[in-house]
């Protein structure tokens, strides 16, 4: 592979936005027939790099090289033309058009009289799917496709345009295990067909699984490019963070107290059935399972977002009426939801107002809200959670994912809950912040908080939980104590291979 130059390369690229130096002297080489990983924390410059490759940004200094020759992309169109395609985390397809129409949007094969030739369209699409080794119906509308399938459609679109470089920007963040496996198969197929691939993921095990070499960025600076073979996850983290992470899962030993949350025979027809468990003070209980097993739905029902058909939820001695987040909150429940952007935060609202939103009553002095209390409380939490921000009056939308999650946590912890339900605590968060969140959860449990943690991240489940509950197809299939929880036992229960007695 080394006789010919790399298909696409960056050489000593610098890019600044105002005073922010997003990229400094960064080089990268993407070779045909190789999957290259790009590693770095949030804010390390990964997105800027991707956008430079994709022609969205032009470097202030340095060069973009295509087949060894310097090129200038004047826009995403130029890059596409040169065979560079980017697959984003959440593709945007036209929902009402068919899969085939989406792929050939704007370049539909024509029959005589200029009409779209549906037969050719379908055949071409089918051919693409064969090449990728996936089974998708070209005729079905894009609406209702899973994110994984949408990505496949995007990849097919890229291939149909003869893309030689495929950049995948955190494609796996919202995928389940099987979907990730299929995506990887497709990626390997393309690699074997001579494409150059750039893969970005926060999940280190995926990088090790899929890629041959890795380039690491930190704070906009190029750190290293090396073969993954012979590297350990700790090495990689160390390069990304620039220091040793104390321990990835700083689990504190805690004294476990009385039952705080008691869920009995909770049932929502067609969604989950007969779910019973308890969470005690000081305990972190993980709720594991595959995506779609009904975990988030149970959390929503407990917190009163959705109604349930049968069963009870008790917090301390209070039995919740159900269907009201307000009463759940006053009983001491808090829910950090899965979808930060829609459910966790008011994105255009300021940091302080987002934090204050859960305790509007206690911010009052007389009938009106005290700006001082509001700001002081937000500032306290910002310091306590090491929030990185410019002003408390800034919209939370400008924060990075990890810092947004901290705002959500601040918003809920300031209600002084006795039970914290946290749904995917570290999804889409960089390694450093991830470990901060873990430490915080551990600390909170140490102070007597009962934590129910839903997570699809197995190492997180195993590292954090005192007990692991596993759901499969709407039912609790296992309760595994910490010392018996392994990837094998949890996955077996999650896929329905064992059926232990649920507590």
């Amino acid at each position: 592979m080394s006789e010919s130059p790399p298909i696409l390369a960056l050489k000593d690229v610098r890019k600044a936005f105002g005073a922010v130096r997003a990229l400094q002297d960064v080089s990268l080489e993407l070779w045909g027939g190789e999957i290259h990983a790009l590693a770095g924390e949030n804010g390390a410059g990964k997105s800027t790099l991707v956008k430079t490759l994709a022609g969205v940004h032009r470097p202030d200094e340095g060069q973009v090289l295509l087949d060894g020759r310097p090129v200038e992309f004047h826009g995403p169109g130029d890059a596409q033309h040169a065979g560079v395609a980017v697959i984003y985390q959440e593709p945007t397809l036209f929902p009402d058009l068919s899969v085939a129409e989406n792929i050939f949007m704007g370049r539909q094969p024509r029959s005589r009289f200029g009409r779209i030739d549906r037969r050719v369209l379908r055949a071409e699409t089918a051919k693409l799917f064969v090449r990728l080794g996936v089974a998708l119906d070209p005729d079905r509308p894009a609406r209702g496709l899973s994110i994984a399938d949408q990505q496949i459609v995007e990849i097919a679109k890229a291939i149909s345009r003869d893309a030689r470089v495929l950049i995948m920007d955190e494609p796996t963040a919202a995928l389940s295990g099987n979907e990730v496996a299929r995506l990887f198969t497709v990626a390997r197929t393309l690699r074997d067909q001579g494409c150059a691939l750039l893969f970005i993921s926060h999940r280190l095990e995926e990088i090790f699984d899929l890629c041959r070499r890795v380039t690491t960025l930190r704070d906009g600076r190029y750190i290293s490019t090396e073969l993954l073979d012979g590297l350990t996850a700790d090495d990689l983290v160390q390069r990304m963070v620039g220091r040793e992470l104390d321990t990835l899962y700083p689990k504190q030993e805690t004294t476990i107290g009385e039952t705080v949350l008691k869920v009995s025979r909770l049932t929502r027809e067609g969604v989950f059935t007969d779910v019973s468990f308890e969470v005690r003070s000081g305990e972190i209980v993980a709720l594991a399972g595959l995506v779609g097993a009904g975990r988030s739905e149970v959390a929503r029902a407990i917190f009163g977002i959705d109604r349930y058909d049968a069963g009870t939820v008790e917090v301390g001695t209070v039995r919740l009426a159900g269907g009201s987040p307000t009463t759940a909150m006053s009983a001491g429940l808090a829910l950090v939801p899965e979808d930060r952007r829609q459910q966790g935060l008011v994105m255009e609202g300021s940091i302080e107002r987002n934090i204050g939103l859960t305790q509007l009553r206690s911010l009052r002095r007389g009938p009106v809200i005290s700006r001082k209390i509001e700001r002081d409380r937000a500032a306290d939490w910002a310091i306590r959670l090491q929030l990185k921000y410019a002003r408390l009056s800034d919209a939370v939308g400008v924060l990075s994912g990890g810092n947004q999650q901290k705002v959500v946590l601040a918003k809920w912890l300031s209600t002084e809950p006795s039970v914290l339900i946290i749904d995917e605590p570290t999804r889409g968060i960089d390694v450093g912040t991830k470990s901060e969140v873990h430490r915080l959860l551990s600390e909170l449990a140490g102070q007597g908080l009962a934590v129910l943690m839903i997570s699809s991240d197995l190492p997180e489940v195993l590292g954090m939980a005192d007990r692991v509950l596993v759901m499969h197809e709407g039912r609790l299939t296992a309760e595994i104590p910490r010392d018996q929880a392994t990837e094998e036992t949890v996955m077996a229960a999650a896929t329905g291979q064992t059926r232990q007695e649920a507590a």
């Binding site: 997105s47 307000t326 008011v346 609202g349 107002r353 509007l360 929030l387």
Partner: protein, 347 residues
């Protein structure tokens, strides 16, 4: 964790583009206030009868209903809802006013009764929106027609006049020693209350959150449905009260009173800088918007401009007020795009 994370130095990322002092002055409500002053001065120098105490009192009195109804409308639009039935509630209450007066009721009985009618009208709107989850735009277009129809059922096409002078005075006379008519004085009082509610209470915070991201507000324990229902009821009450004011002010109860008034109300709210998509706006801006609409109407009237032209002007203002912030946002976005993305997006 993160020993290097500078917790005490929060300004980790210098902002590429912050709301500098200049940005703060080009806020929409400030622009509208400036425009208001320009129109006022233009009117004062260009039209001889404009800047007289009598005319201004008349202009304010003429604005009473629009101004009053604009207050709850602001709360609704901030919460990303709208009530198009307000003018019909006003008409229905005006018709009821006439019919009940004809039937020998005392004004002291009629007004409380109208307020109850306002509550019921608001409850119907609110329940349809919150219980059935229908969009308020559609619901209140429906009830707009329904309530207006009921007004005709109550009073037909006849007009009832000759109400007691002391009540007519309340609707038209000015507060002694000021050029401010009583209804407008009430508006000022209620505007202060509304401003406090919107900008300084938990309810106000909740309204902005609902308008910007309803799901997140619900997840934060805010009783979204209850609050929306309350807003529609308040809107109904104020519209009903405005019906009484209107009737007494013109001394005439008719089923078609206040026809089309909802558009002037919404125009002044949007002109005041409240985002029709919810989540943004200030009450100060709305007061400026209301006054601007009022002054323009008055000026056009003084210059004998035909009512058709007046409605064209209202329509244009409505479009301009919706369009301008969007264009401004678009310009800002493209400019940002040229400079690169916002700092946080460059991860």
């Amino acid at each position: 964790m993160a020993p290097e994370a500078p917790a005490k130095v929060p300004a980790v990322r210098p902002r590429v583009e912050g709301p500098g002092p200049l940005h703060r002055f080009v806020r929409w409500d400030v622009i509208v206030t400036a425009l208001l002053i320009v129109v006022f001065l233009g009117g004062a120098f260009g039209t001889s009868d404009f800047a007289t105490s009598d005319n201004l009192s008349f202009a304010l009195d003429d604005l009473s209903e629009i101004a009053l109804i604009a207050l709850p409308m602001t709360l609704l639009v901030v919460a990303a809802e709208v009530d198009l039935s307000v003018a019909s509630v006003l008409g229905l209450c005006s018709a009821l006013f006439g019919a009940l007066w004809d039937a020998g009721w005392a004004i002291e009985m009629i007004v409380p009764f109208l307020l109850v009618v306002g509550v019921v009208a608001g409850l119907i709107n609110g329940l349809l929106v919150t219980r059935l989850g229908l969009p308020s735009l559609a619901v209140t277009i429906g009830t707009m027609t329904l309530y207006r129809g009921l007004a005709y059922v109550v009073l037909g096409t006849k007009a009832v006049a000759e109400f007691p002078q002391n009540y007519a005075d309340l609707a038209t006379k000015t507060v002694p020693g000021t050029p401010i008519p009583y209804p407008f004085a009430l508006f000022i009082l209620l505007a202060v209350v509304t401003a406090i509610v919107l900008h300084a209470t938990g309810l106000g915070r909740a309204l902005f959150a609902i308008g910007a991201q309803e799901e997140a507000a619900f997840f934060a324990g805010i009783r979204v449905k209850r609050i929306k229902l309350l807003l529609f009821v308040v809107s109904g009450i104020v519209a009903a009260f405005a019906g009484a004011v209107y009737t007494l002010r013109y001394g005439s109860a008719r089923a078609d009173n206040g026809l089309g008034l909802e558009l002037a109300v919404i125009a002044s709210v949007l002109l005041g800088g409240v985002d029709f998509d919810g989540g943004k706006g200030t009450l100060g801006g709305v007061v400026a918007g209301v006054l601007l609409i009022g002054l323009l109407r008055n000026l056009l009237m003084l210059r004998d401009v035909a009512t058709e032209i007046q409605s064209i002007v209202t329509g244009l203002l409505l479009i301009v007020s919706v369009l301008t912030p969007r264009i401004a946002a678009l310009v800002r976005q493209t400019r940002r795009h040229h400079r690169g993305t916002t700092p946080a997006a460059s991860s």
